[in-house]
Symmetry: C2
Subunit: 211 residues, 2 copies
Amino acid sequence: MVVKVHGPAYASCSRRVLACLVEKEIEFDIVPVDLLKGEQKSPEFLELQPFGVVPVIQDGDYTLYESRAIIRFYAEKYRTQGTDLLGKTVEERGVVEQWLEVEGQNYHPPIYTLVVQLLFHPKLGLPVDQKIVQECEEKLGKVLDVYEERLSKSKYLAGDFFSLADLTHLPFTHYLVNDIGKEHLVRDRKHVSAWWDDISSRPSWKKVLQL
Amino acid sequence: MVVKVHGPAYASCSRRVLACLVEKEIEFDIVPVDLLKGEQKSPEFLELQPFGVVPVIQDGDYTLYESRAIIRFYAEKYRTQGTDLLGKTVEERGVVEQWLEVEGQNYHPPIYTLVVQLLFHPKLGLPVDQKIVQECEEKLGKVLDVYEERLSKSKYLAGDFFSLADLTHLPFTHYLVNDIGKEHLVRDRKHVSAWWDDISSRPSWKKVLQL
């Protein structure tokens, strides 16, 4: 069954899902959703995703949304196919879940706001709130200090294996390093910097960026 | 092995973990952490939880933090003991994960801010920002409109079974209904109201509130 991914391939949360599908060697088709035209708020789309955001997957008659739920679903459904992204034991998966939650609860809020302020606001002709930018940069820096300590002890966040915990960081860290002039937050931290070079040079991520 | 839960039993994220442990019939001891004295920022605690927040569990020599990761870990580790909280199939677990993520990404941010503004600020002698309160109430209302539609079609969020998707909502919705004068957000929505009465009257939650 070819998985349908509703959402533009360039959207950050679509990219999280696509990176997982490529790692798991799962075939997919991208169903375009024009965000600028507001297609994600159309009645047809809201039937699939009632919050009106991308991505959503359809796999036969199974529909699922929330990118971090979708990646967990495919990592588990195709456990033995492609890259193992959950660890070998329930204890390893626990640590993967811990860092997935750290990303969702600690890392994502400040990096998301930075990207909105510094990438999307200028494109939309909206002002940039420098006070918010400064606060978020400080918050993100403190989170990355914990990552630096962690990554000085293990190659990846959940241990010595690449997992969903790392993969989930790809889309927004890509913006941070490449698009908003805040690369120093990664580069000033030796182990975070090496980790970023490692995970962002995976063939799966390079493929996703070309879609 | 008796699980050690570091964190006061009254803290909302500790309660999320404790509700899961009770549902799964897992023995635990609570190791008090005095948040008012700042013990969560002590060097000893930061060794366990580098972000300096509760809860953390220790299970033999296994340590895990992030409440939503801990509940996934125990729901999976003791799959066949106590209440099944993940669904019977990988597809059911996918839907559980979807609603866990909806809680973490859509429900939690506005309800957390409401609780901070309306419960904690007055206790700490800080001013309440009514503009923030109004914005968060509107955001939460829109999220609850989606819940109302969902719960008109299935008894619980992930289907016709109580799961982690419901359990994760208990701590902050308890504040919403009981402590900050915003009960109407639940009571004005028939299916959300019935769902809340159902999940908050489970023996596990009553026990957690008494700890």
